[in-house]
Symmetry: C2
Subunit: 315 residues, 2 copies
């Protein structure tokens, strides 16, 4: 469930656009006003506000924001204001351009979204970057990562709950064989992970656990420094337990020596209208502390206020 809180009566998009324009006017910027508007509007409404703003002031709202605010606060507001598919396309493009093996953004977008959402990202990628997502991923990654990432971002998985148990057993055995033989980049392992439906994969991993005594991810943890193994584990977690996956991203972002604001911003902005409520619940259970407390302790100012607004909390 979403954490976003929208007021009972919402001003019209053109009223919101006008208020935003006021927030930019004169000396300084009224950040609180920006948060009170954009931090409490649905994706459809934010799109309408952008349109109204463009119509009235002949300027892109994102450009205006870019001139007024900065730093982590700016990144949070800009990412949040984008449509979900546009936002993912933008994040995917950034990940591709600066690609390094430890980057999990492409895996998140490929594996934690629904098939329809991932396809919408591919369409938004065409529109914005004049290339295909898989084309850029294939051109900017190499080796085993390319073998894994290209089919993951190109997938259009079947989405119903039907499961073929015979297939789950035979593919669990196949996975166990490859993993035991340390053939982590084997084409059958990647094929199964990149093409089967999520329901089918859950059944396969359950059978794996029952039959071989360990979870797939435990068996894939033999070398904690191996980034490719970490990528496989991330894909499996995004497919089977997205809330737990995102909780861990938030936890690592907050608990590190330096807070990783980009990771925190990414999870909050991409999940606030989807399943941030469940992620926050997992967080509280795992860390014995509400997520909003952790965020208050680790961030400051307008950035903090924006994240808390998306979490449905007062600053």
């Amino acid at each position: 469930m979403a954490t976003l809180k929208v007021p009972a009566t919402v001003p019209s998009p053109s009223e919101d656009a006008e208020q935003l324009r006021k927030a930019f006017a004169g000396w300084g910027t009224n950040e609180a006003l920006i948060i009170s508007i954009l931090g409490h509007r649905t994706a459809a409404r934010r799109r309408a506000i952008r349109q109204a703003y463009h119509q009235t002031y002949n300027e892109d709202l994102l450009k205006s924001l870019d001139g007024e605010i900065s730093g982590d606060f700016e990144r949070a507001v800009l990412l949040w204001t984008l449509d979900p598919a546009e936002r993912d396309a933008w994040l995917a493009n950034e990940a591709v351009r600066k690609w390094r093996p430890g980057n999990r953004v492409l895996i998140e977008i490929a594996c934690a979204r629904s098939s329809r959402e991932l396809f919408a990202v591919r369409q938004a990628y065409h529109a914005r970057f004049k290339r295909s997502l898989e084309e850029d991923v294939a051109a900017h990654t190499t080796g085993d990562f390319r073998k894994l990432l290209v089919p993951l971002v190109s997938a259009y998985r079947y989405e119903n709950a039907e499961v073929n148990l015979t297939l789950a057993k035979s593919e669990a055995k196949m996975l166990h064989e490859k993993i035991s033989g340390k053939a982590y980049n084997h084409e059958d392992l990647i094929r199964i992970l990149a093409t089967r439906s999520k329901a089918q994969l859950v059944a396969t991993f359950n059978y794996y656990n029952d039959e071989f005594g360990n979870s797939v991810n435990k068996d894939l943890k033999c070398d904690p420094k191996d980034e490719f193994l970490a990528a496989l584990r991330a894909a499996i977690r995004c497919i089977c337990f997205p809330e737990r996956y995102f909780e861990k991203v938030i936890r690592s972002a907050i608990n590190g020596l330096r807070t990783e604001e980009n990771a925190l911003t990414r999870v909050i902005t991409t999940c606030a209208e989807v399943d941030l409520k469940e992620i926050a619940e997992v967080y509280q259970k795992r860390n014995s502390m509400p997520l909003e407390h952790a965020i208050k302790g680790d961030t400051t100012g307008d950035y903090e206020a924006m994240l808390l607004a998306l979490l449905g909390q007062e600053a």
Copy 2:
């Protein structure tokens, strides 16, 4: 352009459904009536007729047809009656289940359709077969063919005409290097073919031709018996010259020792509403004979009449 001829005034879908029901009634079947209706209706109209037929008689029109007609005529009528995306999904599934290296159907569907059409096929495949197209392709093919076919059927190529000439040059050189070294299954060769936009690939192949003196396809013809090389050539022809590709499929189907009705039916039914006019023109130029004459000489009866109807000709 399409060859399909639709009368100036078309009866309502329910009138057409009623006439079809009459064609099935009593002793024998009125094949000419079936052709005169279905052979002269657009995809949207055929869909409406199926709906009207189902509403009135509580039976799927395709099932009724299946009980009334048979052989090549039946296959042509059934394939034609399906929606384009449904038809491609059905053909792809048949190709996957009976897969052998010489089968070109998956390559045609992946490379000769637009990005949006290919995605519609993947959606229709979900709806009909409860699995994804790429999942079935990956599970039923092996080796180099799998490496080629899975990314081809998963592609969502960028579709505008923009071309990056620097990239075309560097990738033409890369292709030449791989082909000269006989590394036909090299991942970079497959990556380029499966992910770049068609406009970009045409530019790359043109540069290849200019720089290295032969067309890519000529250089890929070194071993005419190698089915993988033939598959690469088919993909390139479907991307760059679909009309020439389909003309050759028709020519081989007609000129073989035995007419290959399935190939003939496939091309006529899939292209009649798209570009069969251009294909027929290429055929006439290449064979000094109108396509309809060749079809008259090689087929008979209701099957012949159905193909000619789709070609916009009288039997």
